[in-house]
Each structure stands twice: as C-alpha cells, then as structure tokens.
Amino acid sequence: MSDTGVTRASSSKEGGMGIVRLLLEGRAFFALIVIIAVFSFLSPNYLTVSNFLIMASHVAIYGILAIGMLLVILNGGIDLSVGSILALAGVVAGAMMQGVEIQAAGVILYPPVWAVVILTCVMGALVGAVNGVLVAWFKVPAFVATLGVMYVARGVALLMTNGLTYNNLSGRAELGNTGFDWLGFNRLFGIPISVLVLAAIAILAGIMLSRSSFGRWLYASGGNERAAELSGVPVKRVKITVYTLSGILSAVAGLVLSSQLTSAGPTAGTTYELTAIAAVVIGGAALTGGRGTVRGTMLGAFVIGFLSDGLVIIGVSSYWQTVFTGAVIVLAVLMNSIQYGGRARKG
C-alpha cells in the first residue's frame, strides 16, 4: 500500500547542504588536488611534467582495467578475473612473439606485432565472454563466476610458461615482428603511448555510456533489470557484452604492461582487480549498479596511482602505502553511502 519508495524532495539542494553536496560529488577531484598539493610540498620532484607523465603511464594500466570494471559494476556485477586475464594476455602475446610452432606443417610462425595485439585482444574477449555467459545464461553469481575464471586464467598462464617469464619481447628485425615495446615506451607529442591509449579508451567509453543506446541499456539494466527487461532492453546481451569488453580491456592492459616491462610473466597483475574496483568505487560508482561515470572512474584511478607513486617518491615504506590505499578506499565507500544512502528506498 502507498508509495514508500517515493520522494525525498530536493531539500538537499538547499542552504548549507550545497557545499556538502559539491564536496561529495566532486570528492575524487578534490582528493586528487589534495594529493598533488601535499606531495608537491613534500617533494620538489613530484610536481614536474616528466614525473607526471611517468605516473600517468603507471595509471594507464589501472585506468584501462578500471574502465572495463566500471562497465561491469554499472551492470550490477563484478569482474574479479581482470588481473588474471591481464597476465594471460601478456603470456599469450609473449608466446606469440617467441614464435608459434605448427608441428603438422613443420614451421614456426612469427606473427607481426599488429596480429599479436589483435589475437591477444580476441583471447581477452573470449575469456570475458565466458564470464558473461556464465553470469547471464547460467545465472552463476558474478562474484563466483569471475572468481573461478580468475583462477583458471591464472593457472593457464602458469601452465603455458611453466611458471617462467618471457624476457625477450622485442622480436627480431629479420622476422619482421619488432615493435612490441612501442606501446610501453614510445611517445607521441611527448606523451607516452599508454596514456594516449587510456585517453582514447576513456573517451570512447564515455561516449558509449552517455550517448549510445547501449549505454542507456547498461544504466537501465544495472538500475533495475526487471524493469529494463520489460521495456525491451536485451538485458542478457548487455550483460555478456560488458564482461566481454572488460576482458578485451584487460588484454589491452596486459599488452601495455608487458610492453612497459619488456617481459611477460604469469604472475603479473596479481590483485589488480582489486585496484580497479577501488578506482571505480572512489570514482563514485555504486556497487549495486546503475550509477557511475567514466570521468569519476578516471579520477579514481589517478587518485590511487598518484597517491602510491607519491608515497614512493617521498620514501614511505610500501607497507604504509597499502595502509593508505585501504584508508582511501574505505573513505570513498563511506562517502558513497552518505551520498546514496539518503536516497535508498525503504521497505
């Protein structure tokens, strides 16, 4: 009876609430400014263009993962497998750079770098699609499905290399497969390629979310799947697509990381899924789905990246870094519950 879910008028827009609201909605932005200000004060080397570009190239990895994670979280799910897919992508790319032996034909294929990149992304898409199918069709809870895939992908990466790391990814000129380090080392207009890749992905994802029908479907099915389905939204397709995209972006991040390190190891990216989730949450997205933006997630990724790099620069122990990162995440979630808690429906 009666409409309990209704109306918390616009009282929060009035009076002194305005500043609180502004602080809440722009919190990741303010946090970033505070971080930059504090570390600039503590270290003269922090606030320099070259340092910023280095930090940005570190952020790129988390940022790319976080965008994929944002899509999944907007859908009301979670993807724990991104770190493992990242490692698997690096290993798959590394293996292809070492040459693919086809025994039946008695030849060893050395695919060019562009083919390596595409094939690796296809691999990421397939693993992501497995997540999506498990969640959408077989109704496996996202947490469990992606947890399983996380272990499987990591295990496959370990099996492929027997636990070892591919150290030489540069290719050989006579085989025509050089250039893998381009992603991680080169610069365009003085900006690292990895940062440009992140920017391109962020812009595309932003347009997709705000302007495309798919974006609207994603927000709708994350906000209320039943209502979305009855409105003709293909909710299963949306679900499979977001996990697939998350898989592709994990593969891209894996390529960037192994290119930066010029090596591909099966243990790369361990716990990166948690960093990606943290970036999304700090960026103001709701883990229940339906709320969140690319802009917020990018700010979240920069907050985490700039904070941990700053702590390194001023020489704080890495154990303390862990503590700080954790505190920032808790603080962010706390503010999320303040922001959305008041709007939550009762009964």
């Binding site: 009876m1 009666s2 879910g5 209704v6 347009i207 029908s213 906000g223």
Partner: protein, 516 residues
Amino acid sequence: MTALSDTPAARPDAGEVVLAARNVAKSYGAVQALKGVNFDIHRGQVTTLFGENGAGKSTLMKILSGVIQPTSGEIVLDGQPVAFANSTEARDRGISIIHQELSLAPNLSVRDNIFMGREIMGATGVDFAEEERQTKVLMEGLEEEIDPLTPVEELRLGQQQIVEIARALSVDSRILIMDEPTSALSAAEVEVLFKVIRDLTAKGVSIVYISHHLEEALQITDHAVVLRDGTMTAYAPRAEIDLEWIVRNMVGENYDLGSPPDGYDFGEVALSIRDLTVPDPAGGRYNVVDRLSLDLRAGEVVCIYGLMGAGRTELLETVAGRFGASGGEIVLEGREVSHLTIADRIERGLALVPEDRQRDGLVQTMSVGQNLSLASIRHFVRGFLIRPAVEKKLIEDTIRDVTVKTSGGGAAIGSLSGGNQQKVVIGKIMATHPKVIMLDEPSRGIDIGAKAEVFRLLAEGARQGLAVVYSTSEVGECLSIAHRIIVMHKGRISAEFDASATKEQIMAASGESVAA
C-alpha cells in the same frame, strides 16, 4: 441505516478505548498517505478497517504498531499519549502486528521463525525444547498439523500465513493488528482463525482487522471504520451496517472513472490468445493459466477481474513475453508472436505496464526522461548514438500527452508522486506506439484523481484504435471504461459480462462469496 458521523466523539460507543489515533497524518514527500485520521480500538472487540488499495489502511496500522512514525498527530494508549520509536517498543507495550507481506525467514524452521529475535534462553543457550513445545501448542490452537522443525519455505503459502499468525499470537499481545491475514487461507483455515479471534476477544484482547474480503470481515467484526484517500469517511458498529454501506463509503458517491468510449466501431482483432496454458512458475503441478482464450479488437477496452492468485498477472506477463507458455498461441494482428522476445513484441506493438511499478516499471537510478524514453530508444538512434533533440522532443511530448506533473525530464523519478510515477510507466509504453496495451493493476497505490486520469488516457487511446486490456481487483474499476469484463478464476475465464453488469454478478463469478 443510521446517520453517520466521522468524529469519534459523536459516535455510539461501546467498550473502553485502549488505543487511539488522534489526527494522525503521514506524508511521503509529496504524497499524503494519511490526512488526519481518528481511530479507536476497543478492549476485547474487533474493529475492521475497510478501504481500497492506497486508502491508507496499512499506513495507519504501521503507525499504530510503531513501524513508522506519523508526520503529525498523536497515538493514545490507555489514555496516555505515547510515541513508539520502533515496532519492538510497541510490542513491549502489548501491540503486535501481522503484516500483509509475510515477514518470515524461509530458510529457518517454523519454531525458529516464531521465536525469532526473542529466543527463550536456557542455562546452555537457546532452550529449543521449550520453544518447540510452545510452537506445538500454538499450532494445535490453530488446528494446523505443522511440524515445528519444518523449514518455512517447504510450507504452502496459506500455512506460512498461519505461522505468521502464530508468531503474533505467541507474544500475548493486548492489541493484535491483522493486515490481510486471510489472503492465502482456505475457507476452513479462515474459520479456525475466526475461532481463535473469538477466543482472544473473550480474553480481552483487542483486534484490528483488515481484509479485502468484505463479507468475511463482516462475520467477525464489532465495529467498522472506512478509509478513503487517507481520510476516515465513516464509522459504525456492526449492527448498523451491511455490505452495501461499506462499498458506498469505500468508493464514495461521486466515484466516476468514466464510461466505455463509444461512437466508433471496433477494428480487426488485434490480439488473439488461443488455449494459452502457463505452468506454475514456482514449480507447482497446476497451471496458473489454464487453456485460456481471448480475442481483443482494435479500439476495444477489456477489463480482467479476479482475486489474488486468479492468474491475471501470469496471463499478462506471459503474453508480454516474460514467461514461457506450455501451450497455446498468442497472435498479434494475425501473426504468432509466442517465440518472440519482449523487445520484439514491443516492436510489433504489444506491451505491458507491469503490476509493481517500483520493482518492474521504473529504473530508480535514472531520470524521468530517461525512464520515458527507455522502451522506444531504438526509434531515435542513428548509428550507435542517440539523437538528443529527437529524444528531448519525445520526452516532452510524452510528459504532455500523459500529463505527468514534473519539473521536467531531468527530474529524479523519486520526486514524483505514485500517480505520476504510474503515468511515467504508461507514458514509456505509449511512446512505443503500441497496438495492444496491457496494464496489470494500473490503479494500484495511486489516488482517485490519478486513477481517473489514467482511465481517461486509456479511453482516449482506445478511441484512437488502441486495444486496451487491464486487470484489477476492484470491481468498481471494471465498471468504468471497459466494454467487456472478463472474470478470471483459477487460471480460467469463469464469466464474461458487458458494461451493464452489476458488481454483485462480477464478484460472484470470481469465487468471492457475496450474499446477493
């Protein structure tokens, strides 16, 4: 019939008042659920609260039992004003409530549910043996053979309701509020419940009773109070009232939801349902819709009336595509659509306005405009991108057409009243230009003015050639704009009437016992 007054002071009194509401009002944002109600509960007597959906019955009972707090007004217990912070405080003062929605933990046993939150503690933890003994006694009192250790999820709905009742009884309350306690009970179980109620009142316990089964409530009640749109419209002791009095006061004298649109001929058959059979989604062995056939012509308005569990919702949701049918055909404009997805059915012009707008109709995280355009988004996409200007026009047009009162398309969906939220759901479907629109309980939880507007919209749509089918559990709503009234009972059509039918005829066909 005696002249009636709505002021408690002026009415014929009987028995001491133990609990009373004085000028109690409750608002949820823009929605006024209660507008200053006075309500008395007498010692050792049954007071029944009548009213339609959305009249404020449950809100009032939640206030009396401390579940929610009134916006204004006071609660008087034994002559003293009291304020309950929560339902536990009210329970400690001897007031308990059986909620309309079951509030049991399905994974726990009957015993654990009954003693949830107030377990009997022995020397070594919970005294399960004693709890079990008391549960058995309660079940014997209710003449139910339920083992105290059975998990609640293994009980059928009616038995679950019995457990809910037993839990309230186990507290030894002075005042027991029963909000629709019999909705899932069989006739025999209702008889037992009434016997229990008579025993309780004999012991001095006061009962507040709410039921949609008017006849049934009249059997047990000592006093009747009628609520309409958040105000008390009538009060009388049992001796002075009958069914007709209740209905008149519930719906009001000037209750006009319009009449069937006329002055045009119906078009071709728009929707044809042939022998549709839907198995119980919960896995039961019966069919919730049983070989049902129905034709609907363009421009025709059909009302489906039936009690809870008659299969109305399952019928409409199956036709819309949410459930699969186990047999039969759904033909839209001559083409079979059973195999199509919900999206494809909407594309072909068959769409549903679901029963529960909060759960199935609206996306709370999106704005009014985004909700309105959600179902028709395919119509304004170029390439991959939405064309903002086209969307904006569609949103503005729809807001105007269905008369949504909102500050604009960007407003939060939660800022709207229930009636306006319902219009958003209807507007969303209308924006897809349907040929057949199905509405499941379109008037649920909205006030009478909004109801009339919703029906006016539907009648206008029918005049333009739209085929309309809506379901309701209020007879008065069938006798408004519908050209044809279908009565559903246990998954089948039990009767069919034209617009000249009477309420009694319709109710009788639905399986409700009405003394003619």
